[in-house]
Each structure stands twice: as C-alpha cells, then as structure tokens.
C-alpha cells in the first residue's frame, strides 16, 4: 500500500497515484497489476480510506438524471425541441414536457419557444445510449427564460459558484439584490433590479469562476461585494424581488 500522490494534488493523465490494494473511483484506472493512474487533469482525492479518484478541472458536462440545466434551443421539429446543454449530446425537450398546454398536431411549437431561446429544465432521462430527455414541468421554476441574462462558465466550476448548500449564491443574492439560477451544465441565469446590479453580479460570478479553487475565496468575494456596495449603495439596498 503506497499512496504516491498527495490528497488534493494536481495530477495529469498517466500520473501514478498509488500502488497496492485500492479501489479505482472516478477518473482513476488500474493498470500494470496493482498500479493506479490518473486519467484526467484534476485534483487527486482519497475517499472512504481506499477509493482513489480525480476531480476533473476541465472537461465536458456529463448529464445526470435530476440535474437542473439551462439549455439553448438549436432546432425545432414536429413535437419537440432540440436543446444544446453543453454536453457531448444534444438533448430533446418533447412538447408534452413543456409547461404549457400544447396540441402537437395543431400548434406550431415555435410559438412557445424558438431557436436560440434559453430554457430552464431538468434531465429526466439519460443513459448514454439515447440522447438526454429534458422535462420542464417537474418544478414551477422551470420553463422559457424571458428576462435577465444567461452566461456560460466552466462546468467543472459550478459547485464552487453554488457554494456549500447554496451559500455563495445566497450571499450574492442577498448583497446584490439579484436572483441567480445556476445550471449544472455551466450556464448561469442572472436577474437583478438594475442593469448595474446585473453587471456587478456577472463580474462577481466571473471572479468566482476564475478563482474557484483557491483558498479564502468566500472572504474575497465578501470583500468585493462590500466594495461594490459602497460604490453604489442605492442599488444594493433597493428592492429585492
């Protein structure tokens, strides 16, 4: 039993991380007998004493059932929309899973959502054998995005933007009066009471994305928010929708 890489160490594909009796978790493979290698660029982790894994720093969004995502309509066919969710696979949103009464025979579904529109929805089905199916009826907040801005961030940074139990978003919402919805697929939907607040929110999210994996991020974000607040006290303290 010999662990070669340190916990949280940056590893690259092919790095030998450990030798001996371990279990290969995410992004780790066992080769050449009992030797464990990293398969992606990321940070090495040991969990449950013997499970080796690497948390990827980069890479595509891989859909999972139940993920909340923000998709972009790229194509429209008879009874469904084809939606880009920044995954290797384009998703399908059937008309019947859109929160409106649609008769697929008589209605032109373009009236409800057209090309380049953003939609907030949930991954209802996905098994890599067929394209992911979206559902926008499972929750009241799902549906066509009609206001605010949508920005894209590195999908691997999403957990940091959300923060522990949503703490980072809550902080931003509270301090900037904004309303932020983060899709697991690295799209963030921002609404705020003023254009200035929108821009402050977006730039703060960018800061979190850029420094997502550094120490003391929360306090730096708090500091930044304080500066922004002082600069335009009015905006920050105004109405919270």
């Amino acid at each position: 039993m010999n662990i070669i890489a340190k916990h949280r160490q940056l590893v690259t594909p092919g790095d030998l991380v450990a030798e001996g009796k371990f279990r290969a978790g995410q992004n780790v493979i066992k080769l050449n007998g009992d030797r464990f290698y990293a398969t992606v660029l990321g940070s090495f982790e040991i969990k449950d004493r013997d499970t080796l894994s690497v948390r990827a720093l980069r890479g595509p969004y891989i859909p999972r059932r139940g993920d909340k995502v923000i998709g972009k309509v790229v194509d429209i066919s008879m009874g469904s929309w084809t939606v880009d969710i920044r995954a290797p696979y384009e998703a399908t949103l059937p008309a019947g899973r859109f929160p409106a009464r649609i008769n697929p025979v008589f209605d032109d579904i373009r009236k409800f959502m057209g090309a380049d529109d953003f939609v907030y929805a949930e991954i209802a089905e996905f098994d890599r054998a067929r394209p992911p199916i979206l559902d926008a009826t499972l929750n009241r907040e799902y549906g066509l995005i009609r206001q605010g801005v949508v920005i894209e961030v590195e999908p691997t940074r999403v957990p940091r933007i959300i923060g522990k139990k949503g703490s980072m978003i809550q902080l931003l919402n509270r301090e900037l009066g904004s309303q932020i919805t983060v899709g697991q697929n690295g799209r963030v939907w921002v609404r705020a009471p003023s254009p200035e607040a929108v821009s402050n929110t977006v730039s703060t999210i960018r800061l979190i994305e850029a420094e997502a994996h550094t120490q003391g991020l929360t306090s730096r974000v708090e500091e930044r928010l304080k500066t922004l607040k002082n600069a335009s006290q009015k905006v920050a303290t105004e109405n919270k929708e």
Binding site: T39, P88, R128, T214
Partner: protein, 250 residues
C-alpha cells in the same frame, strides 16, 4: 524545403559528436509548450521544437456529424494534420497532400491507444493539428502537442503520449533531427510512446538502420519521450496550479 545547396557536402556531425546547430548527439532541440491558449475549443496546445511551430485545437466530445459516423459503443477520434501554406520555404498548396493524409492517419493511431474513447459513445473528439512552421519533426511535435491539448480538454486518457524523431548522421544515432539533418541524414525514425505504460504508439522509419542502431534508436526515443513528458506535465501544471482546489472545498 531545400536548405543551402552545399549542405550535403559538409559533415552533419563533427568527429567529436557535435551537430551543425551545436547540439550533442542525444540532445533535443529547445522545446516550448503552452496549453489553453485558445478560448473557443475544448482544449488547445502550442509547441515549438527548434523552428517547428505547431498549434493544436481539440473540439469535443461532441455529437458526431455526419451521424452515420457515430459508433454505438465509443467516441470516434478524428485528427487532421495540416501544414499552413506559409509553413515551408516554398508555398505549400493548402489542399491536403497524400503525405498529410498519411500523417493524419498515423497520428490518429498514435493517440487512439491512449484516449479512453469508450467513455463517450456516439460522439466525436476532433483534433486539429496545424503546422505553422515546419522544420522537421512535425508529426512527432504534433503528437506531443495533441496529447497535451486532449489532456487540457479534460478528456480521459490512459496515459499521455509524446513523440520524437531519432535519426542517423554519419553513422551515429542522434536525437530529434532538424530540417537540414532530416534532408541529408541517413535515417529518420519518428517514435511516439505512452511513457507510463511504456508502449510504442507510432513507429516509422525512412532510411537505413542495423538491428543495433534500431535498438539504440528506440531507447534514445524513449529518453526523448521522457523529457517531453516532463515538459507536458510542467505545461499543464503551469496553467492550472493556481486552480488547485483549496482545503475548504466541500
């Protein structure tokens, strides 16, 4: 592509084993690598090896188009090795030559053993290798940079891949030919390897080698691959060390 006309007559290796550019027999040219320099792709890398300059972009995994190319159980890896018209002394026609088509194939086959294609069924991973300046060793430098760009794209790999050409000058096996040596030398053998699993993924030879020279060439290539692999890791670390996760993360 042709160097000064008299270069064939002067020796490519001095009696004490120094090459025309001052390098020793087993010395690689100066190598520079950088990752993540392009925004609009999944991964990117740039390499300079001597005067050879190559930029690589990776797109994907993404839906395979046209759809009939998609494989049910795995991703397809597509490569394109291409030389810019301004990359050579005489303008190179932009249309892909037979040479480029062959190199495209052998590069793809040098990367395929490493890339874990079964992770992304029905998708394609596209690797575009553009030679901006050619000064020998473009296929090997292209492979080294392509592996780097794939790693930067976050695509799972069993191992990295790095490649170098070894050759023969005045009867001696040498590391990493430059253009003059490639033109007038006695052999050119590009070798790609996966450094940790210690396997050859590309092997070609132009020119003549005895069995002993062949064996020496392979172990010299192995040493070159080790050096390049360290630089690959360094390039990735340089770009991403600042983003090493902090303890406070969940």
């Amino acid at each position: 592509m042709v160097e000064a006309a008299d270069s064939g007559s002067k020796p490519l290796l001095s009696p004490d084993g120094i090459r025309t550019d001052g390098r020793k027999i087993d010395e690689m040219r100066k190598v520079k690598m950088e990752v993540g320099l392009l925004k609009n792709c999944s991964g990117s890398a740039y390499i300079e090896q001597g005067k050879t300059k190559i930029i690589v972009a990776v797109h994907g995994p993404r839906e395979a188009h046209p759809k009939h190319l998609a494989q049910p159980g795995r991703a397809i890896l597509r490569t394109r090795y291409h030389m810019a018209p301004f990359s050579t002394s005489d303008r190179k026609s932009p249309a892909p030559s037979r040479r480029e088509i062959e190199i495209t194939k052998v590069i793809r086959e040098a990367l395929e053993p490493a890339v874990m294609l079964d992770e992304f069924p029905k998708t394609s991973i596209d690797v575009f290798i553009e030679v901006l300046q050619a000064d020998a060793g473009t296929r090997s430098a292209g492979i080294t940079a392509a592996a780097l760009a794939l790693a930067e794209a976050g695509i799972p790999m069993r191992d990295m891949v790095a490649a170098v050409a070894v050759g023969k000058l005045e009867g001696r096996v040498v590391m990493d030919l430059n253009e003059e040596e490639d033109e007038h030398g006695q052999a050119d053998m590009p070798v790609a390897m996966m450094p940790n699993v210690n396997r050859i993924t590309l092997l070609q030879l132009n020119g003549r080698l005895t069995r002993a020279e062949f064996e020496e060439g392979l172990s010299m290539a192995r040493r070159g691959v080790d050096q390049l692999y360290e630089m690959q890791k360094q390039a990735l670390r340089e770009k991403y060390t600042s983003s090493e996760p902090a303890q406070e993360e969940d």
